[in-house]
């Protein structure tokens, strides 16, 4: 090949990022089997995303727990710690992300958690913009088994829905057995899906987290004009 073309050097640009918040209900009712399944699911998600070289660099995960209070979990380099809800610290690229082991306690202030998660995503976008990093539409995955317990959860749900209407975020909600799906349906535009019960369908959590991972891989490699084909949902009672 021409030596002149060999002399070409390439611009060194940061990868575009896809910010993702996993909003997980860690209230008392999730203790035992459900939370064990969530913890295994997070492990699976972390492993799967690392296998995908593009997703590993482009997907940035934050874990927000909602059990008694709302906090973010920083889980990287062998350490898991609760940290303040700060967009500069809460996100880890998928290749840095290590699955935390969550414990359950308290009630379910889902309204506050939803508001905090949305703020994290907005702040993260602002950081990308200030650093000249391209980004994909943020994703918020909500998983809960109950009923929001804070007073003004409906206002928070409406704020999230409005943000989704403005294309500011994509919300996917999943109700674990016992969840109030009607309440959950107010968070975002899409109908929540009911995860198959653990007793009848032991692999359901695993399948759900595998679906999350495949969906994020699809986004991470999307180019302008791509309509993202999400993988089929086989972990829920209702087909979408």
């Amino acid at each position: 090949m021409s030596t002149m073309l060999d002399q070409m050097e390439f611009a060194d640009n940061p990868e575009p990022r896809c910010p993702v918040v996993l909003l997980l209900d860690t209230s008392g009712s999730m203790s035992g089997k459900p939370l064990q399944e969530v913890n295994q699911g997070l492990q699976l998600l972390s492993n799967d995303l690392r296998q995908d070289t593009l997703a590993a660099l482009r997907v940035e995960l934050a874990v927000v727990t909602c059990g008694g209070d709302v906090s973010a979990m920083r889980c990287t380099q062998g350490r898991t710690e609760r940290i303040p809800l700060d967009a500069a610290q809460a996100f880890m690229t998928a290749d840095q992300f290590e699955a935390p082991t969550l414990t359950a306690s308290g009630d379910t202030p889902l309204g506050r958690a939803s508001r905090d998660a949305l703020q994290l995503l907005r702040d993260r976008k602002a950081i990308y913009r200030s650093q000249g990093v391209d980004y994909f539409r943020p994703w918020l995955f909500i998983m809960t088994d109950g009923q929001p317990t804070d007073r003004d959860w409906e206002t928070a749900a409406e704020e999230l829905r409005a943000e989704e209407q403005r294309k500011g975020v994509l919300v996917f909600s999943v109700g674990v057995e016992g969840a109030n799906l009607n309440a959950l349906s107010k968070f975002g535009e899409r109908q929540p899906l009911a995860l198959k019960s653990i007793s009848s369908s032991p692999g359901a959590f695993r399948e759900y987290f595998s679906w999350v991972s495949k969906s994020l891989s699809a986004i991470a490699q999307s180019r302008p004009g791509d309509q993202i084909a999400l993988p089929p949902v086989d972990w829920a009672n209702v087909q979408v």
Binding site: M1, S2, M4, L5, Q7, M8, E9, F10, A11, N13, P14, P16, G132, V133, D134, Y135, F136, R137, K167, I219, Q221, S222, R223, P224, G225, D226, Q227
Partner: protein, 274 residues
């Protein structure tokens, strides 16, 4: 170039331009079996050149056809115009916009004929006309057009029209008014590069899409020193297929380079000095 061409040359004629181009299917598209969705054209008309690049949307089933038709229709419309009118009498930006609108109409027509939504043919389109020492351009989408000025500096003529998100852009098939076609003219140029977005992250510095000098400098020098058009295109194709490019992008890649300088002519008996 034939002897007849040479006879009509005069000191007032536009300077000669030399162009090379390459277009290659992306590794993603090979894996997905979708084939190449980029299209490219470069046509000389008199002393001018019409250059067009288009990138069919990944999600649209007939976007390769859309891109091919967009490029064909726009360059054809411009050829008709330039063949019958001296370029100095034409507002080139206006002519490019008209040609692109014509291409958009043809896409609507194709969609109607096939009873498909026009979104099935989604494509971007960037068009330039190089005329003498100036270039004019029009763009819808995320193509990247870069002019090299006489002093060697680089100037972006068209940068990607992006939405908020990395995987969003505009399409020729969705424009609702001529104002959505971004036009530009740059005078005093000696080089022009046109590309689809596959090479963007290698060729532009984010944010702001500043042309990366170490990308374009050697690229223009390569075109200037190419010994023939065929060889130049072959080498450029080889570059697009090279491992170091493929390691950085899995998208379709299309690149056209024009430089204001005739390539050294093949030596032949008639051309030897007497």
């Amino acid at each position: 170039m034939t002897d007849t061409d040479r006879e009509v040359s005069s000191p007032f004629q536009s300077p000669p331009w030399f162009t090379v181009a390459a277009s290659a299917v992306g590794t993603d598209h090979v894996r997905e079996g979708t084939g190449k969705q980029d299209a490219v054209a470069r046509h000389p008309v008199g002393g001018s050149w019409i250059i067009a690049v288009a990138d069919g949307a990944g999600s649209a089933p007939y976007s390769a056809e859309g891109a091919a038709l967009a490029v064909e229709a726009a360059t054809h419309a411009l050829e008709q115009l330039l063949m019958t009118n001296p370029t100095l009498s034409i507002d080139l930006e206006e002519a490019i916009v008209e040609a692109m609108l014509e291409a958009a109409d043809r896409l609507q027509g194709l969609a109607a004929e096939r009873s498909e939504p026009v979104s099935a043919f989604h494509t971007t389109l960037a068009v330039c006309v190089i005329d003498g020492w100036r270039v004019s351009s029009g763009q819808v989408g995320d193509g990247f057009l870069v002019a090299e000025l006489d002093d060697g500096s680089l100037q972006a003529l068209a940068v990607p029209q992006k939405g908020e998100y990395a995987n969003e852009t505009q399409f020729l098939t969705t424009i609702s008014s001529r104002d959505e076609i971004e036009t530009a003219t740059v005078e005093g140029i000696r080089g022009l590069a046109a590309m689809t977005d596959g090479l963007l992250r290698l060729a532009a510095q984010m944010p702001g899409y500043a042309p990366h000098p170490r990308f374009f400098g050697p690229l223009f020098n390569f075109a200037r020193s190419a010994t023939s058009e065929v060889k130049g295109c072959e080498e450029l194709t080889g570059f697009l297929a090279s491992p170091r490019v493929r390691a950085r992008t899995s998208d379709d890649l299309t690149l056209v380079i024009a430089v204001r300088q005739a390539p050294p002519a093949e030596p032949s008996a008639e051309e030897l000095p007497i």
